[in-house]
Amino acid sequence: MKRNRLRELPAVALVYFSGALILLVVVAIFYYLAHEARYAFDRPFPYGYRFSLQPPVLEPDPYTGEIVDDLTVDPNASLLAANFEGEDGVDDKEQSAPMPTLAELEGYHPFGTGSAVIATLEDVNLDGLYRDNWKKAKPASQGDSFYLFAFATPEYDKPTMKLAWGPDAAFSAKDCPYDIRLRLVRAPEGVELDPFDIDLVKHEQGAIELPAWIAKTDADRTSGYVFEMIATPTKSNFVATIIGFFKTDWAPTLQYPRYGFVPLLLSTMLMSFVALLIAVPIGLACATYLAEIAPVRVREWLKPIIEMLASIPTVVLGYFGLMIVAPGIVKVFSESLGMTSGRSFVTASLVLAFLLLPTIISIGEDALRAVPNLMREGASALGFTTRETIKKVVMPTARAGIVATVLLGFARAIGETMIIWILSGGTAVMPSANPIKTLAAPTRGMTDTIAIEMGNVEFEGAHYGHLFMIGLALFLVTLVINLAGYAYGRKRKWLAS
């Protein structure tokens, strides 16, 4: 007997090991998702402003007729920027744009600006001045400061000039964890000017009028106005990354990347919700039909058909949606919703609903079948019709199971990747407040963002880390929903036994 036990030991150990392994898998998934997500917190927060001198009155825009001072396209604006990921000081491209000399500006532009790469005001080297000043990447906890020199050429004849500033392309000061200020360091000799100190975060775009100052020689270019842009960090990198993650802008490939995953989360939730709105009534009706009404022979035919749908790979369903459903949707809705492309919220939701049907039908049927027959018999003994039996006895009794069905379907919808990827249109924007517009618009969820973008990220970089953060969020959300569904589903156990 004892020897027998010893011989069984490995097998029993294996059994326990397998049980432990399952636990380990969940822990490992959580651990490694978090482990890779930590790269998100290494992100430097880049910031950049453009500065340009302008005449007091601007020319109107040739396209719109409005006066647009978009400094990002002003060829003469200086860019002062820091903390670019992977940028190592001044790169080749920027070094080729030194601060303009008077001769270069003659007959072309009446102003010039520039910045010193090494920011010490005492020994400014005229050869080391650049129109664009890029500083090395640093974490958000370190600040930086830049000097900016500004002058007008001898051609300039007006008494005043404007120093205009604006954020660099796609840079949003509100999202960056810095306090950025512009202050006057030195006014040229003979110019009386109150010193100023402007909060660039509050006044992201603006201009200040100054008495004109004209450089007569190239050496004069640095002896006129000197401004300083100072950035001081306001938050730690960790806090800033977390805050950035819960913003509403997903634009990770920008030079000033934005990793707000809220639109992805909302789109995923809304798409799943709409899919459930379609799939739950139909699926439950079908489950009721199979569990309560269908004759055994019919049921034997229908069940395998429905199970067949469950076994179709989602990538095939997605392709089917793209080639067959999407064009149909465009035809139907092109007038009413103004749809031009089938890749949209509504198509993705529809196909997703189709995907959910077998799940909902089979779990729902199980839930209804778990209601003891005794109850149905009692109901009909009381003279209930079939409809009343189902609606007043079976459904309320199976409620926990039905709630579990809906929850599990929800988790399945949230986790679906290929259908969303192929059909949603891929635009990461917040759903619009107008539901009709949202339905017709392209969108993008969490799962497909991971699958689409993982191919083009720098591994172990900030974007990579944020994709893992999304993965972690997705994992937690489905975990909670699944466990809730499981807990609800267990409630009906007393009925079945």
Binding site: I22, L290, S311, I422, T447, Y486
Partner: protein, 304 residues
């Protein structure tokens, strides 16, 4: 006692009328459910038949047995089909012991301990975890940490994780459905717990276990996101070989081919994509069919 002033009792005629209405409503409801049930089935059949009809023109022996050529525009999909079968076979071998032992643990050894409850909750959570999460995990651990490269092995391990929870759950329910009297008989013969499991419970539960294992492996084989991140390859001029080296290399497979085919747009002609869709669908359906047959055969042997 509350007064019942103002309550009118219905006349027999009224009762009969209401009953007629109730019956009619019930009939209408039943009719509605019939319509829904039949319509859904027809819609599903239509979907499957559409894919079949679109894919059939591409089907031929050559399509299934030849490699792609002329810039993926012609030829067949044999390397992808082979890759999918390989992925599935390996996944099956890896996941089978862990899944079955895990199921045995849950049904026979865990009881109602806190540990058992946690493990069961974990299995449920894993079963509902999106496949792209397994892909991310596979990428982080099997690809970046362990092998530094997408490979067949990484694909196997990732898919095995994906298939694991369903196998555990089906094994558990298969074992639980073995009648208690069998176990009692075994125990009364003086068998140890493990002997009962090994000699009595498992053989009776085999049909259910096989069904679960095959179904979940089939589903894993059709799931694109884990493969996309861990094991796919687009094209290779290498001769297909079966050796140790193969494990370290990524492998062409059907879901990856479809995803790339879709990503690359019209490079791969629609006909071939539909053909690939149909092949993948048939592969999974065939596996399911096999599971059903195995189950039916085993059922016939059962006498309870």
């Amino acid at each position: 006692m509350a007064s019942i002033v103002g309550v009118k009792f219905p006349t027999p005629d009224q009762v009969a009328g209401r009953d007629r209405l109730r019956k009619r409503a019930s009939l209408a409801y039943e009719g509605w459910l019939w319509i829904i049930g039949i319509t859904i089935s027809i819609a599903i059949l239509a979907l499957i038949l559409t894919i079949a009809a679109k894919g059939l023109p591409a089907m031929s022996w050559e399509f299934l047995s030849a490699a792609p050529k002329e810039g993926m525009k012609e030829g067949g999909i044999w390397p992808m089909l082979r890759g999918s079968i390989l992925l599935m076979a390996g996944t099956l071998i890896i996941v089978l012991p862990v899944g079955v032992f895990g199921g045995i643990f849950l049904s026979e050894y865990a009881g109602t301990s806190r540990f058992a409850y946690t493990v069961r909750a974990c299995v449920v959570a894993l079963a509902g975890t999106p496949s792209v999460i397994y892909g991310l995990f596979g990428l982080a651990v099997f690809v970046l940490l362990l092998t530094k490269h997408t490979s067949l092995v990484a694909g196997w391990l990732t898919l095995a994780m994906f298939a694991l929870p369903v196998i555990v759950l089906t094994t558990e329910s298969a074992i639980k459905s073995v009648p208690e009297s069998f176990v009692e008989a075994g125990v009364s013969l003086g068998m140890s717990k493990w002997q009962v499991i090994r000699r009595v419970v498992l053989p009776s539960a085999i049909p259910g276990i096989v069904t679960g294992v095959v179904l979940s492996t089939g589903r894993a084989a059709g799931e694109a996101p884990p493969i996309l991140l861990t094991a796919g390859i687009y094209y290779s001029t290498a001769q297909l070989s079966f050796d140790f080296e193969m494990l370290k290399k990524p492998v062409a497979n059907l879901p990856y081919h479809l995803a790339e085919g879709y990503r690359q747009g019209s490079v791969i002609p629609e006909k071939i994509i539909w053909g690939t869709c149909l092949t993948l669908m048939l592969l999974v359906l065939l596996i399911n069919l096999a599971a059903i047959i195995v189950r039916a055969k085993a059922r016939r042997k059962q006498t309870w």
